[in-house]
């Protein structure tokens, strides 16, 4: 018996080792990395669009640059009312360049509309749609915010320290009201940068920048309305933490989203200035059933030379996944000689469909510059 065992022992080891080696070698396969389909609230941080994500006539990350005027404070508007199509208008405050390099802070005196067929590559020759004509308005007009309400298009704007409203049936010809719809809440302050958002359950809320003549940092205040014309109940945007204490907040851009677990959240993108630092875009959010605004733990967009007047639009990427596009005013991140409306996207892994370029002549498929 011992002899038989001794004979079989090495044979068994050899068989076992051979089996192990064969199994091991034949089963090496592709491994997942656990990084697919990860959750993302599509709130930021944003990355600038690349050259291949914008039309050939545009230089990344500038999505809108008027050929002869300077455009700022963009408001993105669904051109055909169909969220599944990318056709987009951008309403922007403009100023005619009197010099080759106009100062960025030069007051804007018109509002123009720019079209885009892909939602991000805008034509360079916008259509002027509104200028100051009412007695209460000043020569300066800025901060357009376009919203669709029934069969008309409403354009909110800032002028003379108040918020005005103009309406249009076609988005090209607007008639402004003879009185502002929101006046300063107290003497010595001015309102600017209106942004209107539809609230779940009905009604609208407008966020505006409030600036005191006394030189205090600007703040954000919201007012509510049932019809979009009468605005009441001003509320200050108060944050839960101390993160932005002392900072100047302006140019709000609001959107409402529902989390995968069903919580309605109001997001507010604002321009933040701290001291002499270039402005950055920060996110404030609050659950609709809770008071107080939470501040994101990092700016969502902070290019080296700064960014102003955020505007955020939710989109669906080419891969069917949700994403968010951010448009900001300011110098290109590549050079401070190049001013325009820059575009960025979140999450960074978002995939966009090929760009559609109207070219330098404002026609789809036109020749690039």
């Amino acid at each position: 018996l011992k002899a038989r065992s001794a004979h079989r022992f090495p044979v068994a080891i050899a068989v076992a080792a051979a089996c192990a080696a064969c199994v091991a070698c034949s089963t090496i396969g592709d491994g997942g990395d656990g990084g697919e389909e990860l959750p993302n609230a599509e709130l930021g941080p944003f990355r600038e669009l690349r050259d291949d994500e914008l039309g050939a006539s545009h230089s990344s990350p500038i999505a809108l640059r008027d050929g002869v005027r300077q455009a700022r404070d963009v408001s993105i508007f669904d051109a055909d009312g169909d969220p599944s199509t990318p056709a987009t208008f951008a309403y922007a405050a403009i100023v005619v360049l009197k010099e080759k390099k106009a100062k960025p802070e030069a007051p804007t005196d018109r509002i123009a509309r720019y079209a885009s067929d892909d939602g991000r590559t805008f034509e360079k020759d916008g259509l002027e749609v509104l200028a100051p004509t009412q007695p209460w308005e000043s020569e300066t007009i800025s901060g357009p915010c376009a919203v669709r309400a029934g069969g008309e298009i409403r354009l909110y704007y800032a002028s003379g320290g108040s918020i005005g409203l103009a309406t249009s049936s076609d988005g090209a010809v607007f008639a402004s009201r003879s009185e502002p719809v929101v006046r300063p809440f107290r003497e010595g302050s001015t309102l600017s940068d209106p942004h209107v958002v539809e609230m779940p359950g009905g009604g609208q809320r407008m966020f505006v920048t409030v600036t005191d003549d006394a030189g205090a940092p600007s703040t954000i205040v919201s007012v509510a309305s049932a019809d979009g014309a009468t605005w009441t109940k001003p509320e200050s945007v108060l944050m839960n933490g101390m993160e932005l204490r002392g900072a100047s907040l302006r140019s709000p851009s609001a959107l409402v989203a529902t989390s995968p677990t069903g919580r309605d959240i109001l997001h507010l993108y604002v321009e933040v200035r701290v001291g002499d630092e270039p402005p950055a875009i920060q996110l404030l959010s609050r659950f609709l059933d809770e008071p107080g605004w939470d501040v994101a733990n990092a700016p969502v967009f902070a290019p080296r030379l700064g960014a102003s007047s955020p505007e955020v639009r939710r989109i669906t990427g080419a891969d069917g996944r949700p994403a968010a596009m951010l448009f900001v005013s300011g110098p290109s991140s590549r050079t401070d000689d190049d001013w325009g409306i820059s575009a960025a996207i979140a999450p960074g892994t978002a995939v966009l469909s090929p760009p559609i370029d109207r070219g330098a002549f404002g026609q789809a498929g036109g020749a690039p510059e």
Binding site: E37, P39, A41, S285
Partner: protein
């Protein structure tokens, strides 16, 4: 020119920062702890601390090695398909599979039975796995990298009296560590003409942790087991160094940039197992084990990094260097200790007339035996609600398992065992405390389907 130099330095810093991010996340424990070792143990839900009778005692209870009747060799294979979802979408977590093998060599010293055992698990996709994740990136922390660690256990056991067995030994985990070094001159005007030399130095390393066990036979009906497994950490250090000159149009700027990253590449929490095996009928075993797992010691999988930049700027260059990146200070994961209950049952059908084993004290065995096994495990998630920055995705886990096989022959006796296991990870909802969280709310759930087989030759 200054802007070019600044850009080059920035690129270098980004490159080395990316290297630091290449520090792996924690590979929590190993496949035996997650999916079992050997088909018998896996089929019984791992509830075999008091009834283990093969090479897998090297993991489940080293004391039981002393009761293995003769020299035995085992080899097997297992695979687990993991479908782990977030918001209903598969996150493509790597499946787990690998080879298991073991040896048990019993003998006697001064008439006291003793045994030596080796048990091992080898993942068949490589000996180690590295993964780079920022702190807030969602990841299935306990299942993504866990199977990627080599496990090897070597144990000794004795049976001082027939009613008691005692054993212990060391287990080994393997991983890699390394350093990265770049020297030379970076030419800004013609990057492809840069003369850079890089060195990568990587080692396969291991750590040891102790394990001890005891088993007591209380008459014919009850066996008790107590097992301790020590804590193990595979620390990983990556040191990156860039030293050289940046050539900016003829002006050479000496630059030295250092970055260090320290993290734990693999972690096994210490555990204590209390097992009770009941034998109410012939060839029937019912076992209940409870394992205490010290998950609260789980370290952050995020690397701690520190960096410094030393540039010898020529006078009058007017370059404004960016400040050093602040050292990272990851949040503690704050996992919670857990008790894991395991239930297992085995009944062995006998074919043929049982015959007495030639070795003293061994019960008679039938020429052919066909075991039927089943098990259940409930593992409550040790991961606290992920309401803040971190996103260690995890849920509770229910595992049911089944197995069967056949054993025949006398000496040598060949046993072939197989098992199937199904793990259900019920939906767990994560709601963030901050409405401005970049990841936001999500739900997670999953299914794991596994199986395997083990062949054992006993002499």
């Amino acid at each position: 020119m200054p802007r070019r130099a600044k850009k080059a330095i920035r690129i270098a810093r980004l490159a080395l920062a990316a290297l630091a991010l290449a520090a792996p996340s924690v590979a929590s424990a190993h496949a035996p702890g997650t999916f079992g070792l050997g088909s018998r143990g896996a089929a019984m839900g791992g509830a075999i601390a008091a009834s283990v009778n093969d090479f897998s005692a090297g993991y489940y209870n080293p004391a039981a090695l002393a009761a293995v009747p003769g020299l035995s060799l085992s080899v097997g294979y297992f695979g687990v398909d993991q479908t782990l979802r977030i918001d209903g979408r598969d996150t493509d977590v790597e499946d787990a599979h690998g080879v298991v093998f073991g040896i048990v060599a019993p003998g006697k010293i001064a008439s006291i039975p003793f045994a030596f055992g080796l048990a091992a698990h080898l993942p068949d996709r490589g000996l180690s796995r590295i993964k780079a994740l920022r702190e807030g990136v969602p990841r299935w922390e306990l299942y993504d990298t866990r199977p990627g660690v080599v496990f090897l256990a070597a144990n000794l056991a004795i049976q001082p009296i027939p009613e008691i067995e005692i054993g212990g030994g060391m287990s080994f985990l393997a991983a890699t560590e390394g350093s990265f070094r770049v020297t030379g001159t970076a030419d800004l005007a013609a990057p492809y003409d840069s003369r850079l030399v890089h060195e990568v130095d990587a080692d396969l390393t291991s750590v040891r942790y102790p394990q001890v066990g005891a088993r007591a036979h209380l008459g014919e009906l009850v066996d008790l087991a107590l097992v301790y497994r020590g804590q193990a950490e595979l620390r990983l250090a990556i040191d990156a160094n860039l030293r050289g000159d940046v050539d900016a149009g003829g002006i050479r700027v000496p630059v030295e940039y250092s970055l260090s990253s320290r993290t734990v590449a693999a972690f096994l929490p210490q555990q204590v197992v209390l097992g009770t095996a009941l034998k109410p009928a012939h060839r029937l075993i019912i076992e209940v084990d409870v394992t205490w797992v010290e998950w609260s010691a789980y370290p952050s999988p995020t690397a701690r990094t520190a960096a410094s930049l030393d540039v010898d700027l020529p006078p009058g260059l007017g370059l404004d260097l960016p400040p050093d990146v602040l050292p990272t200070d990851p949040l503690a994961p704050s996992f919670e200790d857990r008790f894991v209950p395991r239930f297992g049952v085995e009944w062995v059908a006998e074919i043929g007339e049982p015959r007495a084993d030639r070795r003293e004290g061994r019960p008679p065995r039938a020429p052919v035996e066909i075991p039927f096994r089943a098990g259940y495990v409930f593992e409550a998630s040790p991961v606290p609600p992920q309401t803040r920055v971190t996103n260690y995705v995890d849920t509770d886990r229910h595992t049911v398992s089944f197995g069967t096989g056949v054993a025949f022959g006398e000496r040598p006796r060949l046993a072939l065992d197989g098992h199937l296991a199904l793990s259900i990870l019920p939906v767990r909802v994560t709601e963030k405390a901050s409405a401005a969280d970049f990841i936001g709310d999500y739900s997670a759930d999953g299914i794991m389907v596994g199986g395997g087989g083990t062949a054992t030759v006993a002499f």
